[in-house]
Symmetry: C2
Subunit: 348 residues, 2 copies
């Protein structure tokens, strides 16, 4: 049983943010590290697999780790409003922590490209959503420039306080497992998360995992070695062609003696379905990229699972994207309202 | 930091279920009890308010507490399949734990009444969904009868193992708060949750709260003293006209010197928005019924908040029902892709 008070209460002195104000917290972090024996048998025969289920953070994704620190820092800096450009998890998290702190939150989205339902979180928490007649990159430029000229705090991942909270996930993994895993596998989109994990493991000085990073094949700048103009993948949370922390990610992969690869959408969705159906754990499609990357790396012989311990980070909850769950699902068969009819279907 | 292994690992001996098999767990429970000072100032002036955020269970609702025990018992009993009639949270939870245990899960839904999207959880976890040409009650009758005649375990809330897991929420509240609250406020639908909380507090012998139960006005059999043939409310998780644990709920309310009342959908949604916008906590509409009931009871003088500690149970995550979050929300305004345009909107 926990009397958990969130990441800053737990790790405050190890986080390079202002300690001058009360933490803005929704009791994020402390997510479970769940053994996945059935998926493990299928994916890493001879090894052990664990899933770090970040979808159980308050707004349903790992973004809350960095947002408790970013919004606390914003309050310490005297901000009254926060801004971000986002179409999903960052917006929801920023909106929630801003609400918690009594700050205004303004979210920029590309006009006409985003269904309102995708913004359910941000809208629920009372963020003001503004559509930009331009691209996502336009929105990001606008919030960056505006934050330099107006008293609004930018909470996109270029904000250094974000990494401070995010790195705590590495500390949790090591503590929960008793030591660092042999391999830590995760999706790479904007590359903030892999950067934060590596920072966390290095600071912790309790052992370093090898990092396995997976990009969606249609949005794989690290693999192709160049910016992707029009990134495409159904794993929308990693549909990013020019990662903000590209160099840090490359450095972390190299220093960890890691492995980076691309996985197709079909491979991502196969991993997504396996995780839900073998273990009862429902994640966002993008979250499954790490699992898909591990499957592919074992199959190709790049990773030998024998005797090794693997942690796959599931970055968001499947409820963030219900459409993907039912996409392609068969319509239910229909039966008469009698027990006999039901028993017949059961084959009894 | 927790090395949390779920409810049975934590409370095993206090749960009246079989101890003969390994627990089937997704590391449910141990959900945060979050102080809500801003909502508290608005709702219980002079008192203190805390929110038990059950939406952070693995499948997004409190149902996981009872499902770890029900599915573990089913495995101990040798079941190979589990069945339930449900349109939402129970189905998702049953499907997840069945997947975790390697059991088949069959869910009965009323034909034509349920959008596939509402079943995202159950579908994702691989449950077999069967539509019944009849009502929800027909489905419940069919699964009850079938479970008596075929080797399938019924995991609807009539299964006594469900209460065993659910009662642990009361123990967590008392431990997290240091003592039982003065009032515990929650929605009443099928009345299993209020029954389980009361059982838990009584067994714990660490103090008893007064219970405040809220029903939706269009689905308020306890208030009207009669079964409701066609219950109606937009808080779909409590749209129930004939609660399975009606008598237990009435008894718990009486013995706790509690209070039961009905709240309109408008009152429920007002509480839902206040909770998200003042505290950054997004719950299912039905979850907000407890908050709405508390607001109404303080306003009417039935509950005096002065010096009292209140816990409102938020039974499910808002992501379970994204449509309700965006319903009625304004379309975003649209601006040119320039920082000047953005600064103008910011009023700078």
């Amino acid at each position: 049983m926990r009397k958990w008070g969130g990441l800053i209460a737990r790790y405050g002195a190890r986080l390079a943010i202002s300690q001058s104000v009360e933490p803005v917290t929704l009791y994020e972090g402390d997510t479970p590290l769940i053994p996945a024996p059935r998926l493990g048998d299928a994916v890493v025969p001879g090894g052990q697999l664990f899933l770090k289920y970040e979808g159980l953070n308050p707004t349903g994704s790992f973004k809350d780790r960095g947002m408790t620190t970013a919004i606390t820092q914003a309050v310490a800096d005297g901000a009254r409003s926060v801004v971000c450009a986002s179409t999903g998890n960052t917006a929801a998290s920023a909106a929630a922590y801003a609400a918690r702190a009594g700050l205004k939150c303004i979210v920029l989205i590309p006009d006409g490209k985003i269904a309102l339902g995708k913004l359910a979180g941000a809208v629920a928490y009372g963020a003001r959503v503004i559509a930009v007649k331009g691209s996502f990159d336009d929105g990001l430029r606008m919030v960056r420039e505006a934050s330099e000229r107006a008293p609004v705090a930018l909470v996109n991942s270029v904000n250094p306080a974000r990494l401070q909270g995010q790195k705590t996930a590495a500390w949790e993994v090591t503590e929960q497992l008793g030591q660092a895993p042999d391999w830590l596998c995760l999706p790479i989109g904007n590359a903030g998360n892999i950067t934060a994990y590596w920072l966390g493991f290095c600071e912790d000085e309790k052992g370093l995992p090898r990092l396995l990073g997976a990009q969606a094949a249609g949005a794989a700048p690290l693999i192709q070695g160049k910016q992707i103009k029009n990134p495409e993948t159904r794993a929308t949370a990693i549909r990013i062609g020019n990662p903000a922390r590209w160099q840090e990610a490359v450095s972390a992969l190299e220093r960890s003696n890691g492995h980076v690869l691309s996985v197709t959408d079909d491979e991502i969705f196969a991993a997504y379905h396996m995780t839900a159906r073998l273990e009862g754990i429902f994640c966002e499609p993008s979250s499954a990229a790490g699992v898909a990357g591990l499957i592919k790396s074992v199959a190709s012989g790049k990773v030998n699972p024998e005797g090794k311990r693997f942690v796959c980070v599931l970055t968001g909850h499947g409820l963030k994207d219900p459409d993907s769950a039912v996409d392609g699902a068969e319509r239910p068969i229909s039966i008469a309202p009698t027990t006999a009819a039901f028993l017949e279907v059961l084959g009894v």
